[in-house]
């Protein structure tokens, strides 16, 4: 029976870890279930840091290189902590031909953040994604989970400013 290994990888023994363990157990520690387990881990923790990946590799008895290889191969897995707020611009073909690039560049300039990155203060991440499938409403952007269809530079910037400001108000 593999030990939980939590102490050695520096993961806190909390509810998230217990849920992760339950998933690993449900898959009977099967190496084939690596993707499913990484999905669960990211859902629970928000992103996959080094300790978490090491933990998964120990539990499944897989070399860390293989776990790291899989985690970096697939676009969905995030290895860095995302910002408090997230704006994702769709860069599918339909959105691209309708000017998604202009929206991405505008967000980059306005908030001093590069695509795929997070602002220095950790408040905003900018991601681009390959097609969210709402192509008929192109271009699309998603601001904190809410989709802006037929997006323009103006309405995306406005929406992002609004979520950033709302947070400031709450903080006060």
């Amino acid at each position: 029976m593999p030990d939980s290994g939590a102490a050695r990888t520096g993961l806190k023994n909390d509810r998230r870890l217990q849920m992760l363990e339950a998933t690993i157990k449900q898959h009977q520690y099967s190496k084939d279930a690596l993707l499913e387990i990484l999905h669960t881990a990211q859902e629970l923790y928000g992103y996959l840091d080094r300790d978490l990946l090491l933990h998964v590799s120990r539990q499944l008895r897989l070399p860390p290189s293989q776990v790291y290889g899989v985690a970096t191969f697939y676009n969905l897995f995030k290895l860095k902590k995302p910002g408090t707020h997230v704006v994702t611009v769709c860069m599918g073909t339909a959105c691209y031909v309708k000017g998604a690039e202009d929206i991405v560049s505008a967000v980059e300039r306005e908030f001093n953040v590069i695509r795929g990155g997070t602002t220095g203060d950790g408040r905003l991440s900018l991601f681009v994604t390959r097609c969210i499938g709402a192509c008929a409403m192109a271009p699309n952007a998603i601001v904190d989970g809410e989709t802006v269809g037929k997006a323009t530079v103006e309405n995306v910037l406005k929406r992002v400013k609004a979520v950033l400001e709302a947070e400031m108000v709450e903080a006060r």
């Binding site: 190496k31 993707l35 499913e36 073909t93 031909v97 994604t129 969210i132 709402a134 192509c135």
Partner: protein, 550 residues
């Protein structure tokens, strides 16, 4: 479930459906959800109660109706009245006027008959008209009858023959004969055997498979079960993109419902046939849709393709014979068994039977999800169904087949849509994306966009794809910045041919298509970029996104 029970249930559901005079179908697919579809659904249900017409008007939560640019869309039966951009307030008005007073609200109706006129719905036969979360809705329209027929009145051999006779080809893009593929798997030695439904629709700008899964998940499950019976498999996987949360949820619930009704599981319809289906989530890798890469991904590894042979039919999941079919292919199967191969092969053209679903997007007046008979021309799709490019703009090209496809110019618009014609013209059927471009799009820039996509998505296993595409991207990027010479154009052509010839899998072999077709049909734009340092569409050579030509 016993055969008689299925018939009884279908009859009961049909009668229940008939007892309502009206049915309001509210599209709640990914296209309409972000724009308030659930609020509209609630508003309809409230309004029906408010006006006390619950007894005669049923409000259903359905999948995609097809007119995705009018989100949220609502279809009122009978008469198929299609309402566009419905809001909660408008929902109340529709109930008041249309249902209570019997006067459809003309000002909100979708006025474009042409969008539906040339379409033929075989795969999308139920989408937008049934509630995907109610298995009873699917049964009411004849669901699981084909499975019943296969299991009780046909041999596995007979099923394969019927599918082969229909001429159905793989809808994932390659166009391999489905019946033949099934025969290979059925004959392959080894057990267990596996069936994989491929729902890794990775092309940007394509959403037909997702929409099918969200709107009619049981059609996929039924197709899978029939395929499994035919090839002798007891275990299936649906590999679905995790970027499609609604499709994932819908499929999960559909699998549960099918299990509890006994359409999946042990001894289906009291026969010796047992079949179980599991979902597997992708994690964002375009190459995972390739049929050997999908195997690696389901086995929990990096989705890297391997050389064929051996084909998955001989050595697939965990080295066992495996059938990999696209979900659209599978959704065709129940209809073929019920209506017969002869009926199916009467649709479309001689060498290419049946229909194909397309996501029609880009600079077109009526974007949306469409299904057309094979052999229809691109012109009919773009100008009749799609309504042409927006006013004041000029049509430039149509992009068929995504990053692996090609750009076709005006003079090729009369090309019939089938696997052969498209491939000959330099494009591919692909998974069914049609993106229309007008004169504001630069062909060099768009070729660069697709090449960049393939650079990102190349798995890195073989050098021609990994290094060749990177080199290609650099040259194209140079063109859009005013670098490069006429000699570079022939270099690009050589490089493209080399990548096509030498790459290991479909991704690399088709990645140069966008560049090659733009060079073939829009060479003048490349020449303008490298000779005159000018972008005819005014897209390139921009500094800091300010716009205009330098």
């Amino acid at each position: 479930m016993k055969p008689d029970e299925l018939r009884g249930l279908a009859q009961k559901e049909q009668e229940a459906r008939k007892s309502y005079r009206f049915r309001i179908n509210v599209c709640c697919s990914s296209g309409c959800m972000p724009f308030g579809a659930l609020r509209v659904l609630t508003a309809f249900r409230d309004a029906v109660r408010e006006f006390k017409v619950e007894e005669e008007c049923y409000v259903a939560r359905t999948g995609c109706i097809g007119t995705c640019s009018l989100a949220p869309a609502v279809l009122v039966e009978p008469g198929d009245y299609l309402y566009q951009n419905v809001t909660p307030e408008r929902a109340r008005e529709i109930v008041k006027e249309h249902i209570v007073n019997g006067r459809p609200v003309k000002s909100m109706l979708y006025g474009n008959e042409a969008f539906f006129k040339k379409q033929l719905r075989v795969v999308l036969r139920n989408t937008g008209k049934i509630d995907p979360l109610r298995i009873e809705d699917y049964i009411a329209v004849g669901g699981y009858y084909a499975l019943l027929k296969a299991l009780t009145r046909m041999t596995p051999q007979g099923v394969i023959e019927e599918v082969a006779l229909s001429g159905l080809k793989g809808r994932g893009g390659a166009g391999f004969l489905t019946g033949l593929k099934w025969r290979y798997v059925a004959r392959a030695p080894g057990s267990p055997k596996y069936v994989i439904a491929n729902l890794d629709e990775g092309d940007p700008g394509v959403f037909a498979n997702r929409t099918l899964a969200e709107a009619d998940p049981h059609a996929i499950l039924e197709g899978m079960a029939i395929a499994a019976y035919a090839v002798g498999s007891q275990k299936g996987y649906i590999y679905v993109r995790s970027e499609y949360p609604l499709a994932v949820q819908t499929l999960k619930k559909a699998i549960e419902a099918a299990k509890s009704m006994g359409f999946l599981g042990e001894n289906i319809f009291e026969t010796s046939f047992s079949f179980d289906v599991e979902l597997r989530l992708g994690a964002g890798a375009f190459v995972a849709g390739e049929e050997t890469a999908i195997l690696a991904s389901i086995e929990g590894r990096r989705a890297m393709p391997r050389p064929r042979p051996p084909y998955p039919a001989q050595s697939g999941l965990w080295g066992k014979p495996t059938l990999v079919n696209n979900v659209e292919t599978l959704a065709n199967v129940p209809v073929i068994l019920l209506k017969g191969s002869e009926w199916f092969s009467s649709i479309g053209s001689k060498n290419c039977t049946g229909t194909k679903c397309f996501s029609l997007t880009g600079k077109v007046n009526n974007p949306g999800l469409i299904e057309v008979p094979m052999g229809i021309t691109l012109r009919e799709v773009v100008f009749e169904i799609g309504g042409g490019v927006p006013p004041g703009r000029r049509f430039k090209a149509v992009q068929v087949g995504g990053p692996s496809g090609g750009f076709l110019p005006e003079q090729l618009l009369d090309l019939p849509i089938d696997y052969e014609s498209l491939t000959k013209a330099g494009a591919i059927m692909g998974s069914g994306g049609i993106v229309v471009l007008d004169d504001t799009s630069c062909m060099v820039d768009t070729a660069k966009f697709f090449t960049e996509f393939c650079v990102d998505e190349s798995c890195g296993k073989c050098t021609p794809c990994r290094a060749g595409l990177h080199k290609l991207f650099k040259i194209l990027d140079g063109f859009t910045r005013g670098e490069g010479s006429v000699e570079d154009l022939s270099k690009v052509e050589d490089l493209c041919e080399f990548i096509k010839e030498a790459s290991l899998c479909g991704l690399g072999q088709t990645a140069p298509n966008p560049t090659l077709t733009t060079l073939r049909y829009f060479r003048d734009e490349y020449v303008a970029h490298v000779m005159d340092k000018r972008c005819p569409a005014g897209k390139c050579f921009r500094s800091g996104g300010g716009g205009g030509v330098e």
